[in-house]
């Protein structure tokens, strides 16, 4: 069983933004492994649509930092073919919303190549980009793809909530032998956090305990982890104390840590920015019921996006997404405080 100890803060006083942490991970790995190249829309001459790859063209040149035309299906396939050949591509989707037009390549070819070839060809590739709602981008540009893609065996899915993890997880993703979907958030790219300048990695499949409490287990991943921490602060003022578990990767899913926390708290709220039907929250709750049903003192509760297309209007979008207020309300419900 996983030992649950509070994740210590990074041993540094150096603060950088999330986008810089991502860039640092890619640049460090590219310096040590010439097989790695970065391809995507506007990654080179434009310096990145969201400035993640700013300056990388200058350092690595146009053979390794490569602008792609708007052909997600085509350049996703190119990356997979290159990975089969022996390179280590990083393919940037400006938004994971645009990955839907590359679904055949990323779900059939990347995920299943090793199996279909009877172990002859794997696919060591990283697809990365912005996931989740941005600022009022409407229905087509606001996809949280984690639930859709986590259904497919053969993929790994990492989803950092802070700059430290962004760097450490991305380095692990680039070194992994399997296809990794790396989900960032446009809303977090400017967030700053403590990030060591040197070499470190964050392993897949090990959740971080961000806050300790005996009353309820809060489980989340990606951007909503930060809403959980805000909610936990507010709840602490009312003497309700939560374990906040940041999963860091969805596949693998560190269910051992969730179970260990529930054995202490007896209660769980899962916060998931994708839709409720067949979502990650559903999967977490199913696994919890399979693994530690007897420890539950209240039925599991999920906080997800609302079950509608993502709206444009600000008040509608705010009402639709998970936020601190919804999480506070859910935790109070499971601990029996109105």
């Amino acid at each position: 069983m996983a030992s649950l100890t509070l994740e210590p803060p990074p041993a540094t006083d150096r603060k950088i933004a999330f986008r810089e942490a991502l860039r640092e991970a890619m640049s460090e790995e590219m310096r040590s492994d010439p097989r790695i190249f970065l391809m995507g829309e506007e990654v080179a001459q434009y310096n990145g649509a969201y400035k993640v790859s700013q300056g990388m063209l200058d350092e690595f040149g146009p053979k390794r930092i490569i602008d792609a035309p708007i052909s997600e299906n085509g350049f996703a396939g190119l990356g997979i073919g290159a990975a089969m050949y022996g390179l280590r591509p990083i393919i940037e989707f400006m938004s994971w919303s645009f990955s839907l037009v590359a679904a055949d390549q990323i779900l059939n070819n990347a995920a299943k190549m090793l199996y279909m070839s009877g172990g002859q060809w794997g696919c060591p590739i990283v697809f990365r980009g912005n996931d989740g709602a941005g600022g009022q981008l409407g229905s087509t540009h606001s996809w949280s793809v984690e639930a859709l893609y986590a259904n497919v065996p053969g993929l790994k899915i990492a989803i950092p909530s802070n700059p430290y993890d962004a760097k450490g997880l991305l380095k692990t993703a680039i070194r992994d032998e399997d296809p990794v979907f790396f989900l960032e958030s446009e809303r977090m790219l400017g967030d700053t956090g403590l990030v060591p300048a040197g070499e470190y990695t964050v392993p897949f499949g090990q959740a971080a305990l961000r806050r300790e409490g005996d009353d309820c287990t809060l489980v989340s991943f990606g951007r909503p982890v930060n809403f959980c921490l805000e909610a936990a602060d507010e709840l602490a003022n009312e003497d309700i104390h939560c374990d906040v578990l940041d999963m860091r990767t969805i596949r693998p899913l560190d269910v051992d840590s969730i179970v260990a926390s529930i054995q202490k708290t007896g209660r769980i709220v899962v916060v998931d920015q994708s839709w409720p039907f067949a979502g990650i929250a559903s999967e977490v709750i199913a696994q919890v019921c399979e693994r530690c049903f007897d420890y539950l003192d209240h039925q599991p509760v999920r906080v997800t996006s609302d079950d509608v297309p993502t709206p444009y209007a600000k008040p509608l979008e705010q009402a639709y997404l998970p936020h601190k207020g919804k999480i506070v309300e859910a935790v109070k419900r499971v601990v029996g405080v109105e």
């Binding site: 085509g74 172990g119 060809w121 399997d178 596949r251």
Partner: protein, 377 residues
């Protein structure tokens, strides 16, 4: 300029090859045909499951093009892939055992008819979704260029990426043509144009079907059209085309006019074409044509203006019959091997080859693990 009536044209490229090379082409084509006939029989006996698309009629296209490139040039194709696998050097045993779903198959029984992979022979699959391999093809070519250009190793390669005429209309193919042109990726898209995407004739599904060169021109890519029913013509035309693209590291587009004698798959009533049309194409059978030349039979309708090759008539009737016998024995042995091989054990192999780096908690059901080594590796 019109040549003088008695002038002999320059010898064709294939005429200059040793008899052993051309005889090997004949053998490869005959092997594919015999293999596919036995595949059909095995399918009808329900020994082979799923979808199964045989290559009968198209043998010259894989044999003639693969003969024109190096062994380490990457090759990738669609789901009508048994011929490419055999032409690339996969053993009949591994190919047949894969269709039988046995552990001795090229994909350990996990791929089936549509997914022939052979790493030692640089065959990057058999791909089931129409056009999906065209994206991978530009990636293989891109990576082969990156290898010598950035990693400073290896030599200039070309990737052969086969597709059927049905894939002409898939979006990913057009994206791949554009990317190949843009990045100078040395991929050669070889359209095995058998005239039908399942039951839809090319005229009903593809604009400008009578002149596919315009599609290549739209992306600034070199194009040739070749009679796909004559393996010598394929080699003669394709070899210099591929050599030039290899040297210049540019993409190409080949319209190989061929024909499948059988249905699209094993369950195709073929209402969309006439028996006469099939018979007309069979008159131009690639195996018959090459056998005629090698045996130097008098009824070969060859233009008198073309000089005879040293290998014409180099194959004796006895040697030809011996070759037929050996091929029948080889395929019979492959069937026998597939029959006798073990089926995969679900307890041991269901959860293997999903992840190259299996980790705990990737699935709520079971842990993934490494499986038995692939028999080809």
């Amino acid at each position: 300029m019109t040549p003088a009536p008695n002038a002999k044209a320059a010898p064709r490229l294939s005429d200059t090859l040793p008899a052993s090379t051309v005889t090997k082409w004949l053998r490869d084509m005959m092997l594919i045909r015999e293999f596919e006939l036995r595949t059909m029989a095995a399918y009808q006996q329900a020994k082979i499951g799923g979808f199964c698309h045989v290559y009968i009629g198209q043998e010259a296209t894989a044999v003639g093009t693969i003969a024109a490139v190096n062994h380490d040039d990457p090759v990738i194709t669609a789901y009508r892939d048994h011929g490419h696998a055999l032409a690339r050097g996969m053993s009949s045993r591994a190919c047949m055992a894969e269709m039988y779903g046995k552990t001795t198959g090229c994909a350990k029984g996990k791929g089936g008819s549509m997914h022939m992979f052979d790493k030692p022979n640089h065959l990057y699959g058999g791909h089931g979704i129409v056009g999906a391999q065209t994206g991978l093809g530009v990636g293989l070519a891109f990576a082969s260029r990156y290898e010598w250009e950035v990693l400073n190793k290896g030599s200039k390669k070309v990737c052969l990426c086969y597709l059927g005429d049905g894939a002409l209309n898939q979006g990913v193919f057009h994206e791949s043509l554009n990317l190949a042109g843009l990045y100078d990726a040395p991929v050669i898209y070889i359209v095995e144009n058998n005239g039908y995407s399942m039951g839809t004739s090319i005229e009903r599904g593809t604009t400008m079907a009578h002149d596919l060169s315009v599609k290549a021109a739209a992306y600034g890519i070199d194009f040739i059209e070749i009679d796909g029913m004559d393996v010598c013509t394929i080699y003669d035309r394709f070899k210099p085309f591929a050599d030039d693209l290899r040297e210049r590291q540019r993409p190409g587009f080949v319209d190989l006019k061929t024909y499948r004698y059988q249905g699209h798959s094993m369950s195709d009533p073929q209402k969309y074409r006439t028996k006469e049309e099939v018979a007309d194409w069979q008159q131009r059978d690639s195996i018959d044509r090459l056998a005629h030349l090698l045996l130097h039979r008098s009824d070969e309708p060859r233009a008198a203006a073309i000089a005879p090759s040293p290998w014409h008539g180099s194959l004796s009737e006895d040697a030809y019959k011996q070759m037929q016998k050996e091929i029948r024995e080889e395929v019979r042995d492959a069937i026998d091997f597939a029959e006798k091989s073990d089926s995969p054990d679900p307890a041991a192999e269901l959860y293997t080859d999903v992840y190259a780096n299996p980790q705990p908690n990737l699935s709520p059901l079971r842990e993934y693990h490494h499986g038995a080594k692939n028999p080809l590796l």
